[in-house]
Symmetry: C2
Subunit: 156 residues, 2 copies
DNA sequence: GCTTGCCTTCGAGCGCGCTCGAAGGCCTAG
DNA sequence: CTAGGCCTTCGAGCGCGCTCGAAGGCAAGC
């Protein structure tokens, strides 16, 4: 959906194995420059999650969402911005409870910024470790493909 | 030698900080031939999983393990080799059911090699996609760290 | 002989992150 | 006036991958 498209653009801009450029990040951030209030279905499409998931995030205390006169959720720019952050963190493996902790800190005021920064730094390291792990598994898988003989061991 | 190339690429991908996948490197390097039969505790330590997990994999049909006179499991070189493969695939995100399918093919004989190769090729692509996803999230996280202001949005 | 400790089998339970269903409300098109 | 469709709340259920506990066996050390 929208996020897939965004991802495709960003990934296309990535090239073979280069680090994403500032432009790519700007493209990602671009999502909220002109965001008008939207329904749960629209927000879900934008974020590439299900409406159920958005309600679940709200129940989990990750985001507050207003209601219109019919009682329907209205996702404004701030909510979408937060959800972009949340879905990105989820996609990169941050657990719900860490996200809940982070959001609690955000809502607690700016004196919690150092702790929030710590959380991000730690998450950055977690992502890096995971990438290295995957890179290693990728190399092993490619090796096995190249030498394919069918056994479960490398059989060198 | 092919193994040297693999290790070089893997190590090059590791970068500077931390060696989170020591066990994997160890497993990569340690597959030679000199694996002696071992107990479940030893195998678990070797593979960096719990004995419970090894029993679970056996129950799931992923590996057959012999028993000694006391009825205790004995992991021989072939079992360890298979488990190294299995744990590596698990670590890189291959679902149990795909692994069960793959193993069923292995046990079905060598005429299933093309299909097995297909599975590996697809898994390789999955790992690559995941790495790209994580690389993107990493860039976004680093961007947020660099411009840290505490809000949940990029605040560009 | 008895304790300690690792092992066995089996089924049940858990933590996570959704995902779904029931029961009903509001709004619009035909 | 009614049907369709999207929305609401709430609690329950699910799929995955373990993880654990109970009940008991065997072997070594004190």
């Amino acid at each position: 959906m929208a996020m897939d498209e965004l991802m495709s653009r960003a990934l296309a801009a990535l090239g073979e194995d280069g680090a994403p450029s500032v432009e790519v990040i700007h493209a990602l951030a671009d999502l909220d420059a002109s965001t008008e209030p939207m329904s749960i279905a629209e927000a879900a499409a934008h974020l590439d999650v299900s409406p159920h998931t958005l309600r679940y995030y709200e129940r989990a205390g990750l985001v507050e969402v207003g209601r219109d006169s019919a009682g329907h959720r209205v996702y404004d720019a701030a909510a979408i911005r937060r959800l972009v952050f949340l879905t990105r963190m989820r996609l990169s493996g941050m657990p719900m409870r860490d996200l809940q902790h982070y959001i609690a800190l955000v809502d607690a005021g700016e004196q919690t910024e150092p702790e929030r920064l710590d959380i991000l730094l730690e998450h950055r390291d977690t992502i890096r470790r995971r990438i290295r792990e995957l890179t290693l598994s990728l190399a092993a898988t490619e090796y096995k493909i190249a030498t394919y003989g069918g056994s479960t061991g490398p059989e060198v």
